[in-house]
């Protein structure tokens, strides 16, 4: 079983839609939950992160973590064409410095 499972998509939505991106994970030691955004031909960039369970909002983006079900979500409100990218979840926890990435979900927001 993979440590992190993520639907690769692609996911295509119209501009202005609410987008829901999700991951599941298996390691209960994970404490921090990162979302990275990767534009084509670029490296991943940190979008936001949360610690433990709960919600965190940053502008149009909301990250949600449910540790009891090991489920991570990223919601994008009023999606824009500039949000078109691959979104990678990366939960982390323990004594290691390495990130464990999901496969990423490719999102296309159509104008």
């Amino acid at each position: 079983q993979k440590e992190v499972e993520q639907d690769p998509g692609p996911l295509s939505v119209p501009e202005g839609a609410i987008v829901s991106l999700n991951c599941t994970y298996s390691n209960s030691a994970f404490q921090y939950f990162m979302w990275y955004r990767q534009y084509s031909r670029k490296g991943p960039e940190l979008l936001m992160y949360t610690y433990s369970s709960g919600n965190k909002e940053d502008g149009r983006f909301t990250a949600q973590v449910d540790k009891s079900s090991k489920y991570i979500s990223l919601f994008i409100r009023d999606s824009q064409p500039s949000d078109s990218a691959t979104y990678l979840c990366a939960p982390w926890g323990g004594a290691t410095n390495k990130l464990i990435f999901g496969t990423g979900t490719l999102l296309a927001v159509q104008p």
Binding site: K2, V4, Q6, Q31, Y32, M34, R41, K42, G43, P44, E45, L46, Y49, L88, A90, W92, G93, T96, N97, K98, L99, I100, F101, G102, T103, G104
Partner: protein, 116 residues
């Protein structure tokens, strides 16, 4: 502040040849990481330098891969001899401190390696 720079951006080599990838981290960043994404798979950790020392090389796939970071500045990742399965995108990242969780990482744009 200049970002993490990787050279070359794209490399096509024949099976059995040698390729060297280079990463210039953000100035002052002691921590340097290499990651790799092969086609259809997730981005996976290769190794972590703290200054010139290898802190964790548990992700290096085999002894055909050699990473160095002389002087604690730029790093090179050499693949010798290259095999078809080495094709993918190699990412470098750096951070100022040993920031756990990756939220202090800055990634480069990657080197796209194609072995034919």
């Amino acid at each position: 502040e200049a970002g993490v720079t990787q050279f070359p951006s794209h490399s096509v080599i024949e099976k059995g040849q040698t390729v060297t990838l280079r990463c210039d981290p953000i100035s002052g960043h002691d921590n340097l990481y290499w990651y790799r994404r092969v086609m259809g798979k997730e981005i996976k950790f290769l190794l972590h330098f703290v200054k010139e020392s290898k802190q964790d090389e548990s992700g290096m796939p085999n002894n055909r891969f050699l990473a160095e970071r002389t002087g604690g500045t730029y790093s090179t990742l050499k693949v010798q001899p290259a095999e078809l399965e080495d094709s993918g995108v190699y990412f470098c990242a750096s951070s100022q401190a040993t920031i756990r969780g990756g939220y202090g990482y800055t990634f480069g744009s990657g080197t796209r390696l194609t072995v034919v």
